[in-house]
């Protein structure tokens, strides 16, 4: 009964989004306020019905309603309740319903918080979001209904959730990522609405900024948590593999980062305006492309939990409509956009242009690297793989100029500046970061490896310049405006990430050993003792844990449990790595297979500074959220 209600609610939401896509358009044309003012109410309605439908699905999972196909295939009565909730978005169908909850949630937020916008602008934005919704809701109803039933022959128990997804990271990572992906549809809607109205002054950029910042911050968090999840759950200590699915989330992030910076130029300096509109379109298109790649199964990925080729066609059509339609509109209207702001070659504008160019080039690298293997195969040149060696090499080339510019840029004035004023601080920062990095690496690791050195130098360069710039601003304004604090967070966070990547990729050490209970092994100054093997069964699995005590100079650092779990329903074995985490290093132990002579294979890792990646990512995201507290956006809203 409840699932049927959920299904029905989806149909209502679809109908409402049809209305939202039509009535305001007519209202705008006929200047009919009664029709245009329907837009916010319809948006609220869509959100409530979608939320209700999602609630029904969660209810079906919690009550083990195996008459619902989705529940039967992705849950089991033994699954703990929190994983039952997570299972509601663990499958393709369920995850798309979550996507829609987010989509309509953003729309709901826009309807609530945009009252200060000119009413025609507000109507247009909601209308564009309505168009997007029509496509999405049609998709879920026709191609991927989460409420499909198994009746009349329903199973006694479910097939269980993929054990890989039974992890806390899985509960929080997809919702955050979707918030980001879908949030970019708001930036998209602002840009399209501005194009439609033909009113492309810098005000739309101002309205769009907090929304873009919010979506971007969620996306940042989503990617960060995803990387952490892969690290702790996949069992080999990797945190980024340039897997197509990772790339699919990285591309919209890169473009959204560029968009965030170019919006600043559009708003403050009235320049780069048509470029900014283009970025807004590109960001959302790439997040749709990512969805297509992940769900259609056209690319081979370890993450393909929820793919189905037949659905690919539908998403491809949707993608073609969104990209084709918006680019057509863009080509018609963008010619009329006049960017009047003038600037010289050395100016903040140029610096931000550099930021945009490098980020878009990085996106190109990822896009080509992800899609070319497909093309290569199709045109008969055989299968190729593009992975770590290629991407790492390209990203090193891109990150060096990017980080160098990033350090200097906040010091440079809008419009024009003199290079002379930069010589002294640049020289000091360069010497300091080289000297500090060298001595740090030498003292801690005994040898200086080039890429680690590069990473730390770039990280310090950014940090030192940021501190210098903060001091100047402080002196001038006697306080740091909130938007400035946000920028500092974003930049310092990136410094952490760059340094962390350099350090952990160069100085991580590992050993692949076979041990009997009682054996010890040394690695990087730590002594690992295999104390005993324990049986640890969970609600839906049987497990064995190797109890490993980690000692350093005869003192116990930590006792960890590296587990191997067998999930009988899915007949899969999972490795649950034991991690002793720390600000300066992680110790990571994963239990392998039992060898013929009854000993166990164990992988031991010591990974210095690996945590800086995720700390950095969280600090970057924090920057995005802080922007939202900028009074400027709220005060201006009230005044207009």
């Amino acid at each position: 009964m409840i699932p049927e209600l959920g299904n029905f609610a989806l149909y209502i939401a679809f109908t409402l989004s049809l209305l939202l896509s039509i009535f305001p358009a007519i209202g705008l044309r006929q200047n009919n306020i009664r029709l245009t003012s329907l837009a916010p109410n319809l948006s609220v309605g869509i959100f409530l019905f979608t939320l209700f439908a999602f609630g029904c699905l969660v209810y079906a999972f919690l009550t083990d309603d195996f008459t619902v196909l989705n529940v039967a295939q992705n849950s089991n009565s033994d699954l703990p309740y929190y994983y039952k909730i997570a299972a509601s978005f663990g499958s393709h169908e369920g995850s798309f319903l979550l996507w829609l909850v987010m989509q309509s949630g953003w729309m709901f937020a826009v309807a609530l918080l945009s009252k200060a916008l000119p009413s025609d602008m507000r109507t247009r934005i909601l209308m564009v979001l309505g168009w997007i919704c029509v496509g999405f809701y049609a998709y879920i109803i026709i191609a991927s209904n989460p409420f499909e039933t198994t009746l009349p022959f329903y199973p006694v128990d479910g097939k269980d959730l993929n054990p890989l997804l039974q992890d806390i990271g899985m509960i929080i990572h997809p919702p955050l990522l979707y918030m980001g992906y879908v949030g970019l549809s708001v930036s998209f809607a602002f840009a399209i609405a501005a194009l439609l109205s033909g009113n492309l002054d810098s005000t739309w950029a101002k309205w769009s900024r907090p929304w873009t910042a919010a979506a971007w911050a969620f996306l940042t968090l989503g990617i960060t948590i995803g990387s952490w999840w892969a690290y702790s759950e996949l069992g080999w200590g990797g945190w980024w593999f340039w897997d197509p699915v990772e790339n699919a989330s990285f591309m919209p992030w890169l473009i959204a980062t560029a968009l965030l910076h170019s919006l600043a130029v559009s708003e403050k300096r009235n320049a780069f305006k048509s470029w900014t509109v283009f970025l807004a379109i590109a960001a959302f298109s790439l997040s749709l492309l990512g969805t297509f790649l992940v769900r259609s199964g056209v690319i081979v990925s370890v993450h393909a939990f929820a793919s189905d080729p037949s659905r690919g066609v539908f998403i491809l059509i949707l993608l073609a409509l969104v990209i084709g339609g918006s680019l057509l509109l863009y080509s018609v209207r963008a010619g009329a956009i006049k960017s009047v702001g003038k600037f010289s070659t050395l100016s903040r504008e140029s610096m931000l242009w550099g930021n945009n160019v490098l980020l878009v080039a990085a996106t190109l690298v990822v896009l080509l690297g992800t899609l070319l293997p497909l093309v290569h195969k199709e045109i008969g040149l055989g299968t190729i793989s593009i992975g770590e060696p290629f991407f790492n090499q390209m990203f090193v080339y891109l990150i060096v100029p990017f980080a160098l510019l990033l350090g200097v840029a906040p010091l440079i004035r809008w419009k024009q500046d003199k290079i002379k004023s930069l010589y002294v601080p640049a020289l000091i920062c360069l010497l300091l970061s080289i000297g500090l990095s060298f001595s740090w690496l030498f003292l801690e690791f005994g040898e200086v490896k080039f890429f680690a050195f590069l990473g730390v130098v770039l990280g310090l360069w950014i940090t030192l310049f940021t501190i210098h710039e903060m001091r100047i601003t402080w002196r001038k304004l006697a306080k740091l405006p909130i938007s400035h604090v946000a920028m500092v967070c974003g930049h310092i966070g990136l410094a952490f990430v760059i340094a962390g990547i350099g350090l952990t990729s160069q100085y991580s050490v590992e050993r692949d050993v076979k041990m009997f209970t009682g054996d010890t092994a040394d690695l990087a100054g730590y002594n690992f003792k295999f104390d005993s093997l324990k049986k640890v069964d969970g609600p839906n699995y049987e497990g064995w844990a190797a109890v490993i005590s980690i000692n350093k100079q005869q003192r116990n650092v930590e006792t960890v449990y590296a587990e191997k779990r067998f999930y009988p329903v899915q007949r899969t074995t999972m490795t649950e790595a034991a991690i002793d985490d720390g600000f300066f290093r992680d110790i990571y132990v994963s239990l392998g297979e039992q060898l013929p002579d009854r000993s166990w294979g164990l992988r031991l890792y010591v990974k210095p500074y690996v945590r800086w990646l995720w700390i950095g990512g969280i600090v970057i995201a924090l920057g995005g959220f802080i922007t939202l507290f900028d009074k400027r956006y709220r005060r201006n809203k009230r005044m207009s």
Partner: protein, 174 residues
Amino acid sequence: MKLTTLLNSARVAVLSVIFMMSFNSSATEEQTQFSDPVQKELYIDLVKELRCPKCQNQNIADSNAVVAKDMRAKTKELVESGQTKEQVIDYMVARYGQFAHYQPPLNMATAMLWLLPILFITFAVFLLIKRSRAGAIETSNVIDSSNAQTLDKELDALLAKSSQRQKNQSEGEN
């Protein structure tokens, strides 16, 4: 994390330099043993760059598939026989196809992996120079840095005044 553990790990991290050298002193056996540490490093590099042909998207280091195990064993054998990185990769590519190596080969189709980003950056830099030149001609009223500070101050004062006025206005309206 507590501050004490933080400080502790800092101290420990510095001390670890001394212990880095004592790698092979323990009694426990490696699963893959090498007599030469340089060969071991080469092996670790290689198994991360070679792709398991039967898996979804995994290198042979992380995969437990039978073919990955075979490839690891073969890699070890080749490395121990003194082959270079290129030789091992060539062997694997000849046997399992270009698919088995994560670095794409350079040909007409793959050239754009490198060319397109470079072309884009070149074009964008050209555009910037053109655009900023065009801007510079019209903005001939150059501000030198000594003036800039006084101008900044004047601007701040003006802004403060205008925001004050707006505040008064909006209060008046209310």
